[in-house]
């Protein structure tokens, strides 16, 4: 009988039930969309902030001292004053390897231009292709780390393009203006170790010191400075978690000062300090330090964005909860005549409540299922429009939405049912 009545309710009051299901679906989709976006927004914003360039620099342990003491002008290979090129791949093998988005090695030397003036020449990776020890491949270099460069003439140097060969370079705008260089020109540079003639493939505007420099592939500068296989610095762009007290303590007093469990937490969280520490572990004689300008600002902006999204999510959760409660209350209350009739023919309060609640909950479950799918769609629309990538589906959202919907449907229907049960059937049936 119970099931027959429920089936009857759905078949006969199709329109009404559809309405409730629709509202619940709307509320559930809103909750799903907002929760999914909120949980993923940190990662997405973090990715966007990568346009500010590297947040970690790696330099040899004794670089500054030796350079300052001997005022070296490129040349000589004192142990410990350079990083080893062969170790670069190891950066992608650290615990947080997955969080390393891009990195590029640098080596610089003074070169003499044909007119006798001196310029700084930087050897680096532009879009270097790498086969990692783990079997993965990676394309990385300054094309990703200098997104703010404005290419004024020509194009980015393409390392993977065999036609360009290794004899290509890019020149900063200021230097190009002074030397009268433009894309396609040949430029002869010399050091005391040799001379190379390079093709200028691009002129860039970096808005800084780099505008007076020449950028060429690693190998060119290494051979010009007689430093094959050596580097002077590495820039690393990593996705990090904003610092908390633990990270600050580790950064200030060194990881040794942490207790074993704190150390593990710290090591296994993507704090900028723990990533630096792990890079130092794999690169011999290196010091990795956070670029505070980037690392600190990233933390602040991510924190604010996450908090903002959390509050908007809470508002929309409250909104959808009230929306659902409202409609459920309204639709239960309008059934006063039906409930009065049931009471008049002898139904107990318990049975009536069970009947109405089951009906509402079944509608709720159907609505939630539809709403979840729709909400996930909304989240994807937001993800693709704003960040051009899909929003990750967080399984945690499902129980939250289900609990929310069940709770608000019950909260919406129980007071209404109790109110109706208090009425006297005769009065209700009379329509008073």
């Amino acid at each position: 009988m119970f099931f027959r009545m429920i089936r009857g309710a759905f078949l006969l009051q199709k329109k009404k039930m559809l309405m409730i299901a629709l509202t619940i679906a709307l509320g559930a989709s809103l909750a799903t969309a907002m929760l999914n976006v909120m949980m993923d927004v940190g990662d997405k914003v973090n990715q966007e902030l990568k346009t500010y360039g590297a947040n970690i620099t790696v330099v040899p342990k004794s670089a500054s001292v030796i350079n300052n003491l001997y005022e070296m002008e490129g040349g000589g290979s004192g142990e410990g004053s350079y990083l080893l090129e062969e170790e670069l791949g190891k950066i992608k093998t650290i615990f947080w390897a997955f969080n390393i988005v891009d990195f590029a090695p640098f080596i610089d030397t003074e070169v003499t231009l044909p007119d006798g003036s001196a310029a700084t020449m930087v050897g680096t990776w532009f879009n270097h292709h790498m086969d990692l020890p783990t079997g993965e491949t990676l394309d990385t270099g300054i094309q990703n780390l200098r997104t703010w460069w404005d290419i004024r003439a020509g194009a980015w140097l393409d390392e993977q393009n065999a036609a360009q060969g290794a004899d290509a370079c890019m020149v900063g705008e200021v230097l190009a203006g002074r030397e009268g260089l433009s894309a396609g020109d040949r430029l002869k540079v010399s050091t005391r170790f040799g001379t190379r003639e390079l093709t200028v493939v691009g002129v860039f505007d970096a808005g800084g010191d780099e505008d007076e420099q020449i950028f060429a592939p690693m190998e060119v500068v290494q051979s010009l400075s007689n430093l094959d296989g050596y580097l002077t610095s590495i820039e690393v762009s990593a996705l990090t978690t904003p610092d908390n007290d633990l990270a600050k303590k580790a950064a200030k007093q060194g990881p040794q000062s942490l207790s074993i469990s704190d150390y593990e937490t710290w090591y296994c969280t993507a704090y900028v300090s723990s990533i630096c520490f792990q890079i130092q572990e794999v690169i011999t004689d290196s010091v990795a330090s956070p670029v505070r300008q980037v690392a600190d600002s990233e933390g602040a902006i991510m924190e604010k964005t996450e908090l903002l999204m959390e509050l908007i999510t809470i508002l929309s959760l409250i909104g959808s909860a009230l929306g659902i409660t409202n409609l459920v209350t309204a639709s239960v209350m309008e059934r006063s005549a039906e409930i009065g009739l049931m009471k008049a023919v002898g139904a107990t309060n318990g049975r009536i409540s069970a009947l109405v609640l089951t009906e509402v909950l079944i509608t709720g479950i159907i609505g939630t299922a539809i709403g979840y799918l729709a909400g996930f769609g909304f989240a994807q629309i937001i993800g693709h429009t704003v960040f051009a990538s899909s929003i990750e589906m967080k399984p945690m959202v499902i129980p939250i939405v289900v609990v929310l919907v069940v709770a608000v449907t019950l909260a919406g229907s129980i007071p209404a049912i109790r109110m109706l049960l208090r009425l006297r059937p005769a009065e209700v049936l009379h329509g008073r």
Binding site: L30, S64, N68, D150, N326
Partner: protein
């Protein structure tokens, strides 16, 4: 009793008699209006507030001397600053660089205004304290390691005229100053290779010409506005060449536009869903009154009259709900702003009428459809409950 008075009585008594149901409707409308006004206020204020957060990245504009002969001092800078609208200027820090000798080593010393440097470089991490008095200085981490100096160490800083710049007499002038390290500067960047002292101390050492090499500015403005300021200053103050720090300005406009469109889309999705939610609730509230509509029709009320009456009721609800929601929404936006950005939000005056109008419109539409479908049916059928 005039027709109009009767109309109002019908509406008000229906609102009062069916209190609980009207409360439900009113609540739904108010929630919708709260979300509308709250989110739109946030949407309008977020770029400004987020822009302020982005100033953590430090200076986005620098002043340089426009040529080799050009010189500028603080007065020139102040003249240039007058072209930047006051509220948008977050910080200004003048810098002057000189080579000095510390422990017989040549070191680049930067003279600056520390209170200005704190605003333009909020990411500087100082181990120790910012210098407050004359004779105190900051030591870059790299230099501190190189010189083997630490917090609290005192030493003599020597400055002498460069040999080739010495006057005809061939005498090199030399000045000294005793200084104490109050803090070690860590930035992870090139700043670590300098020492920092106050502009006054550096001038006392190297001669008080008042000359500046670089001025860093942190301006809270969009890319286009920055370009405009730079153009204005470049033409109005010939000694200064304003340059934008591309790395900061480019990246800021990319990220900020993403954040803005995120908040926009989120606002749009939430608003659409909420408005539909309000509409379905209103529809449900009106639909349950089909019997009443049938009865009135049977008593001889015209379709137009019934629709007018129901709409009147709905619009009144929409108005009251919208008004309440606009207030609540602003309170919410204010709460968010204070919690997230710790600054208060700017009130968008035009949002009040818009919120009220939107909630009246949504409620009106939501009522109109079920009322019309109810009036179209034969009253007898409605009354029989079929």
């Amino acid at each position: 009793m005039t027709k109009r008075r009767f109309f109002f009585r019908m509406i008000t008594s229906s609102l009062v008699r069916r209190r609980s149901r009207m409360l439900v409707a009113l609540l739904a409308i108010a929630v919708g209006a709260t979300i509308l006004s709250g989110l739109v206020t946030i949407y309008y204020d977020v770029p400004r507030q987020m822009g302020a957060q982005f100033r953590n990245y430090g200076a986005n504009m620098i002043f340089l001397a426009s040529g080799n002969d050009a010189r500028f001092d603080m007065d020139t800078v102040n003249e240039a600053l007058s072209y930047i609208d006051g509220g948008e200027l977050v910080g200004v820090a003048p810098y002057r660089y000189e080579t000095v000798l510390i422990h017989e080593q040549p070191i680049v010393a930067a003279g600056t205004d520390f209170s200005g440097a704190r605003t333009t470089s909020p990411y500087w991490y100082i181990d120790g304290q910012w210098p407050e008095r004359s004779g105190e200085m900051l030591l870059g981490k790299e230099e501190a390691e190189f010189l083997g100096l630490g917090l609290g160490d005192s030493f003599t800083v020597i400055w002498s005229t460069e040999e080739d710049a010495a006057d005809e007499t061939g005498v090199t002038e030399q000045r000294t100053l005793d200084m104490t390290v109050t803090g070690i500067l860590e930035t992870g960047g090139s700043e670590e290779a300098y020492v920092y002292m106050s502009l006054e101390d550096l001038e006392a050492l190297s001669g008080g010409s008042g000359r500046l090499d670089v001025v860093e500015l942190s301006v809270s403005a969009s890319r286009e506005e920055l370009d405009r300021f730079a153009g204005l200053i470049g033409t109005a103050v010939p000694d200064i060449a304003p340059r934008l720090v591309k790395r900061v300005t480019e990246s800021e406009s990319t990220v900020l536009s993403k954040l803005r469109s995120l908040v926009f889309l989120v606002t749009a999705v939430v608003l659409i869903l909420t408005m539909i939610c309000v509409a379905t609730t209103m529809t449900a509230v009106v639909t349950e009154r089909r019997r009443e509509i049938g009865l009135r029709k049977a008593l001889g009320a015209s379709d137009g009259g019934i629709i007018r009456e129901f709409m009147g009721e709905g619009l009144l609800l929409g108005f009251v709900g919208g008004l309440a929601g606009a207030g609540l929404g602003f309170a919410f936006a204010q709460y968010v702003s204070i919690n997230v950005f710790s600054s208060s939000i700017s009130f968008q005056g035009w949002l009040l009428p818009v919120t009220v109008a939107a909630s009246v419109l949504v409620t009106g539409l939501a009522c109109l459809l079920p009322v019309r479908s109810a009036t179209e049916i034969d009253p007898a059928l409605v009354l029989k409950g079929e």
